[in-house]
Protein backbone atom coordinates (compact mmCIF):
# COMPACT_ATOMS: atom_id res chain seq x y z
CA UNK A 1 0.00 0.00 0.00
CA UNK A 2 1.24 3.49 -0.79
CA UNK A 3 1.77 6.07 1.93
CA UNK A 4 -0.13 8.67 -0.10
CA UNK A 5 -3.32 6.58 0.28
CA UNK A 6 -3.53 7.23 4.00
CA UNK A 7 -2.29 10.80 3.81
CA UNK A 8 -4.65 11.84 0.99
CA UNK A 9 -7.65 10.30 2.79
CA UNK A 10 -6.63 12.20 5.88
CA UNK A 11 -6.28 15.45 3.89
CA UNK A 12 -9.77 15.00 2.43
CA UNK A 13 -11.28 14.38 5.87
CA UNK A 14 -9.42 17.42 7.23
CA UNK A 15 -10.75 19.68 4.46
CA UNK A 16 -14.31 18.43 4.93
CA UNK A 17 -14.00 19.14 8.63
CA UNK A 18 -12.70 22.66 7.99
CA UNK A 19 -15.63 23.29 5.66
CA UNK A 20 -18.01 22.11 8.38
CA UNK A 21 -16.45 24.40 10.97
CA UNK A 22 -16.78 27.38 8.63
CA UNK A 23 -20.24 26.64 7.26
CA UNK A 24 -22.20 25.33 10.23
CA UNK A 25 -24.26 27.57 12.48
CA UNK A 26 -25.30 25.06 15.12
CA UNK A 27 -22.59 24.77 17.82
CA UNK A 28 -23.02 20.99 18.19
CA UNK A 29 -22.50 20.55 14.43
CA UNK A 30 -19.33 22.65 14.65
CA UNK A 31 -18.03 20.36 17.41
CA UNK A 32 -18.76 17.33 15.19
CA UNK A 33 -16.74 18.91 12.38
CA UNK A 34 -13.87 19.49 14.84
CA UNK A 35 -14.02 15.74 15.56
CA UNK A 36 -13.56 15.08 11.82
CA UNK A 37 -10.45 17.29 11.81
CA UNK A 38 -9.01 15.60 14.91
CA UNK A 39 -9.59 12.13 13.46
CA UNK A 40 -7.82 13.13 10.25
CA UNK A 41 -4.77 14.20 12.26
CA UNK A 42 -4.73 11.00 14.34
CA UNK A 43 -5.01 8.93 11.16
CA UNK A 44 -1.84 10.68 9.95
CA UNK A 45 -0.04 9.83 13.19
CA UNK A 46 -0.93 6.14 12.88
CA UNK A 47 0.00 6.08 9.18
CA UNK A 48 3.45 7.51 9.89
CA UNK A 49 3.87 5.02 12.74
CA UNK A 50 3.38 2.12 10.32
CA UNK A 51 5.53 3.73 7.61
CA UNK A 52 8.46 4.25 9.97
CA UNK A 53 8.01 0.96 11.84
CA UNK A 54 7.97 2.78 15.17
CA UNK A 55 5.39 2.60 17.91
CA UNK A 56 5.79 6.26 18.95
CA UNK A 57 3.14 7.42 16.47
CA UNK A 58 0.57 5.11 18.03
CA UNK A 59 1.48 6.38 21.51
CA UNK A 60 0.91 9.94 20.32
CA UNK A 61 -2.35 8.89 18.66
CA UNK A 62 -3.67 7.66 21.99
CA UNK A 63 -2.60 10.93 23.63
CA UNK A 64 -4.50 12.82 20.92
CA UNK A 65 -7.60 10.63 21.44
CA UNK A 66 -7.52 11.41 25.19
CA UNK A 67 -7.20 15.16 24.52
CA UNK A 68 -10.08 14.96 22.02
CA UNK A 69 -12.29 13.28 24.62
CA UNK A 70 -11.51 16.06 27.11
CA UNK A 71 -12.18 18.68 24.44
CA UNK A 72 -15.62 17.27 23.64
CA UNK A 73 -16.57 17.17 27.33
CA UNK A 74 -15.63 20.78 27.99
CA UNK A 75 -16.97 21.98 24.62
CA UNK A 76 -20.39 20.43 25.14
CA UNK A 77 -20.54 21.82 28.68
CA UNK A 78 -19.92 25.28 27.25
CA UNK A 79 -22.59 24.75 24.58
CA UNK A 80 -25.06 23.73 27.30
CA UNK A 81 -24.21 26.87 29.29
CA UNK A 82 -24.75 29.06 26.22
CA UNK A 83 -28.05 27.31 25.54
CA UNK A 84 -29.19 27.80 29.13
CA UNK A 85 -28.40 31.52 29.07
CA UNK A 86 -29.66 32.36 25.58
CA UNK A 87 -32.12 29.58 24.57
CA UNK A 88 -30.18 29.19 21.31
CA UNK A 89 -26.86 27.73 20.16
CA UNK A 90 -26.66 29.60 16.85
CA UNK A 91 -23.07 30.80 16.70
CA UNK A 92 -23.73 33.92 14.63
CA UNK A 93 -26.00 35.31 17.34
CA UNK A 94 -23.17 35.37 19.89
CA UNK A 95 -22.01 38.86 18.93
CA UNK A 96 -22.18 40.95 22.10
CA UNK A 97 -18.41 41.44 22.14
CA UNK A 98 -18.31 42.83 18.60
CA UNK A 99 -16.58 46.23 18.64
Amino acid sequence: MLAVNFLLLSAVLFSIGVYGVLARRNAVMVLMSVELVLNAVVLNLVAFAVINGSVDGQIFALFAIAIAAAEVGVGLAMVLLVYRNRRSIALDELSEMRG
Binding site: A3, L22, L36, L43, A68, L76
Partner: protein
Amino acid sequence: MSGLASGTVLVGVDGINVAKNVGFGIIAAVMIFAALCVVTTRNVVHGALWLVVVLGGVAAQYLLAAAEFVAISQVLVYIGAVMVLFLFGIMLTRAKIGADSDLNNRSWALGIPVALLLLGVLGYVIIDGLRDTVVPDRGPTPTVLLSDGYLGPYLVPFLAISFVLLAAAIGAIVIARKD
Protein backbone atom coordinates in the same frame (compact mmCIF):
# COMPACT_ATOMS: atom_id res chain seq x y z
CA MET B 1 -1.72 15.21 -11.68
CA SER B 2 1.56 13.59 -12.71
CA GLY B 3 1.84 12.33 -9.13
CA LEU B 4 -1.56 10.65 -9.35
CA ALA B 5 -0.60 9.04 -12.66
CA SER B 6 2.62 7.60 -11.28
CA GLY B 7 0.67 6.38 -8.24
CA THR B 8 -1.60 4.28 -10.44
CA VAL B 9 1.40 2.91 -12.33
CA LEU B 10 2.96 1.81 -9.04
CA VAL B 11 0.05 -0.51 -8.20
CA GLY B 12 1.33 -3.96 -9.02
CA VAL B 13 4.92 -3.30 -7.99
CA ASP B 14 6.34 -5.62 -5.32
CA GLY B 15 5.32 -4.83 -1.79
CA ILE B 16 1.84 -3.63 -2.73
CA ASN B 17 -0.84 -5.81 -1.19
CA VAL B 18 -3.77 -5.64 -3.63
CA ALA B 19 -6.40 -6.96 -1.20
CA LYS B 20 -5.39 -4.36 1.37
CA ASN B 21 -5.58 -1.65 -1.28
CA VAL B 22 -9.09 -2.69 -2.33
CA GLY B 23 -10.27 -2.78 1.28
CA PHE B 24 -8.71 0.59 1.91
CA GLY B 25 -10.44 2.08 -1.15
CA ILE B 26 -13.88 0.80 -0.21
CA ILE B 27 -13.60 1.98 3.40
CA ALA B 28 -12.18 5.33 2.30
CA ALA B 29 -15.04 5.91 -0.16
CA VAL B 30 -17.62 5.15 2.55
CA MET B 31 -15.80 7.44 4.99
CA ILE B 32 -15.64 10.38 2.58
CA PHE B 33 -19.32 10.00 1.66
CA ALA B 34 -20.28 9.86 5.35
CA ALA B 35 -18.10 12.88 6.18
CA LEU B 36 -19.78 14.87 3.39
CA CYS B 37 -23.14 13.85 4.84
CA VAL B 38 -22.03 15.05 8.31
CA VAL B 39 -21.31 18.55 7.02
CA THR B 40 -24.27 18.82 4.64
CA THR B 41 -27.20 17.05 6.33
CA ARG B 42 -30.15 19.15 7.48
CA ASN B 43 -30.87 16.92 10.45
CA VAL B 44 -28.64 17.17 13.54
CA VAL B 45 -29.31 13.61 14.72
CA HIS B 46 -28.56 12.21 11.26
CA GLY B 47 -25.31 14.18 11.33
CA ALA B 48 -24.32 12.46 14.57
CA LEU B 49 -25.16 9.03 13.13
CA TRP B 50 -23.14 9.70 9.95
CA LEU B 51 -20.27 10.71 12.24
CA VAL B 52 -20.45 7.19 13.75
CA VAL B 53 -19.82 5.79 10.24
CA VAL B 54 -16.77 8.03 9.80
CA LEU B 55 -15.36 7.11 13.21
CA GLY B 56 -15.91 3.39 12.57
CA GLY B 57 -14.18 3.77 9.20
CA VAL B 58 -11.21 5.43 10.90
CA ALA B 59 -11.03 2.47 13.31
CA ALA B 60 -11.01 0.09 10.32
CA GLN B 61 -8.18 2.08 8.74
CA TYR B 62 -6.21 1.74 11.98
CA LEU B 63 -6.61 -2.03 11.67
CA LEU B 64 -5.24 -1.83 8.12
CA ALA B 65 -2.31 0.20 9.49
CA ALA B 66 -1.53 -2.60 12.00
CA ALA B 67 -2.59 -0.53 15.02
CA GLU B 68 -5.06 -2.80 16.81
CA PHE B 69 -4.86 -1.16 20.21
CA VAL B 70 -5.51 2.29 18.76
CA ALA B 71 -8.43 0.88 16.75
CA ILE B 72 -10.06 -0.64 19.84
CA SER B 73 -9.47 2.57 21.78
CA GLN B 74 -11.06 4.53 18.94
CA VAL B 75 -14.19 2.37 19.10
CA LEU B 76 -14.36 2.57 22.90
CA VAL B 77 -13.66 6.28 23.25
CA TYR B 78 -15.30 7.76 20.17
CA ILE B 79 -18.19 5.48 19.26
CA GLY B 80 -18.78 4.53 22.89
CA ALA B 81 -18.29 7.72 24.88
CA VAL B 82 -18.01 10.75 22.61
CA MET B 83 -21.07 9.87 20.53
CA VAL B 84 -23.17 9.44 23.69
CA LEU B 85 -21.98 12.90 24.78
CA PHE B 86 -22.96 14.32 21.39
CA LEU B 87 -26.40 12.75 21.50
CA PHE B 88 -26.91 14.10 25.03
CA GLY B 89 -25.78 17.53 23.81
CA ILE B 90 -28.27 17.38 20.94
CA MET B 91 -31.10 16.35 23.25
CA LEU B 92 -30.32 18.87 25.98
CA THR B 93 -30.16 21.77 23.53
CA ARG B 94 -33.54 20.66 22.15
CA ALA B 95 -32.53 20.49 18.52
CA LYS B 96 -35.40 20.16 16.11
CA ILE B 97 -36.41 16.56 15.46
CA GLY B 98 -36.48 16.31 11.69
CA ALA B 99 -35.10 18.58 9.02
CA ASP B 100 -33.90 22.03 10.05
CA SER B 101 -33.26 24.56 7.30
CA ASP B 102 -31.35 26.85 9.65
CA LEU B 103 -28.17 24.84 10.27
CA ASN B 104 -25.80 26.83 8.03
CA ASN B 105 -24.38 30.31 8.26
CA ARG B 106 -25.50 32.96 5.81
CA SER B 107 -21.99 32.94 4.31
CA TRP B 108 -21.62 29.15 4.28
CA ALA B 109 -20.57 29.09 0.61
CA LEU B 110 -17.32 30.80 1.59
CA GLY B 111 -16.26 27.53 3.23
CA ILE B 112 -16.14 25.65 -0.09
CA PRO B 113 -13.25 27.56 -1.73
CA VAL B 114 -11.36 27.60 1.58
CA ALA B 115 -11.69 23.82 1.95
CA LEU B 116 -10.79 23.20 -1.71
CA LEU B 117 -7.72 25.45 -1.45
CA LEU B 118 -6.62 23.63 1.70
CA LEU B 119 -7.16 20.25 0.01
CA GLY B 120 -5.17 21.40 -3.01
CA VAL B 121 -2.21 22.59 -0.97
CA LEU B 122 -2.19 19.50 1.29
CA GLY B 123 -2.61 17.13 -1.65
CA TYR B 124 0.18 18.80 -3.64
CA VAL B 125 2.60 18.63 -0.71
CA ILE B 126 1.72 14.99 0.08
CA ILE B 127 2.00 13.78 -3.52
CA ASP B 128 5.14 15.81 -4.15
CA GLY B 129 6.92 14.66 -1.01
CA LEU B 130 5.84 11.05 -0.43
CA ARG B 131 4.96 9.85 -3.93
CA ASP B 132 7.11 6.73 -3.85
CA THR B 133 6.90 5.80 -0.19
CA VAL B 134 5.42 2.32 0.24
CA VAL B 135 3.81 1.25 3.51
CA PRO B 136 5.58 -2.00 4.46
CA ASP B 137 3.38 -5.00 5.27
CA ARG B 138 3.76 -5.27 9.02
CA GLY B 139 2.18 -7.73 11.41
CA PRO B 140 0.12 -6.62 14.40
CA THR B 141 1.82 -4.26 16.85
CA PRO B 142 2.35 -6.03 20.19
CA THR B 143 0.49 -4.05 22.85
CA VAL B 144 3.44 -4.62 25.19
CA LEU B 145 5.43 -2.16 23.06
CA LEU B 146 2.78 0.51 23.69
CA SER B 147 2.73 -0.14 27.42
CA ASP B 148 6.55 -0.07 27.52
CA GLY B 149 6.36 3.33 25.86
CA TYR B 150 3.78 4.69 28.30
CA LEU B 151 5.54 3.43 31.41
CA GLY B 152 9.02 4.19 30.08
CA PRO B 153 10.03 7.25 28.04
CA TYR B 154 6.51 8.72 27.97
CA LEU B 155 5.70 8.35 31.66
CA VAL B 156 5.62 12.08 32.41
CA PRO B 157 3.31 12.96 29.46
CA PHE B 158 1.13 10.02 30.49
CA LEU B 159 0.74 11.41 34.02
CA ALA B 160 0.18 14.90 32.59
CA ILE B 161 -2.62 13.64 30.36
CA SER B 162 -4.25 12.00 33.37
CA PHE B 163 -4.31 15.38 35.10
CA VAL B 164 -5.65 17.04 31.95
CA LEU B 165 -8.52 14.54 31.83
CA LEU B 166 -9.26 15.06 35.53
CA ALA B 167 -9.21 18.84 35.11
CA ALA B 168 -11.45 18.62 32.03
CA ALA B 169 -13.96 16.41 33.85
CA ILE B 170 -14.12 18.74 36.88
CA GLY B 171 -14.23 21.79 34.60
CA ALA B 172 -17.10 20.36 32.56
CA ILE B 173 -19.08 19.67 35.74
CA VAL B 174 -18.41 23.16 37.10
CA ILE B 175 -19.35 24.85 33.82
CA ALA B 176 -22.52 22.87 33.17
CA ARG B 177 -24.04 22.58 36.62
CA LYS B 178 -27.01 24.67 37.68
CA ASP B 179 -26.47 26.89 40.71
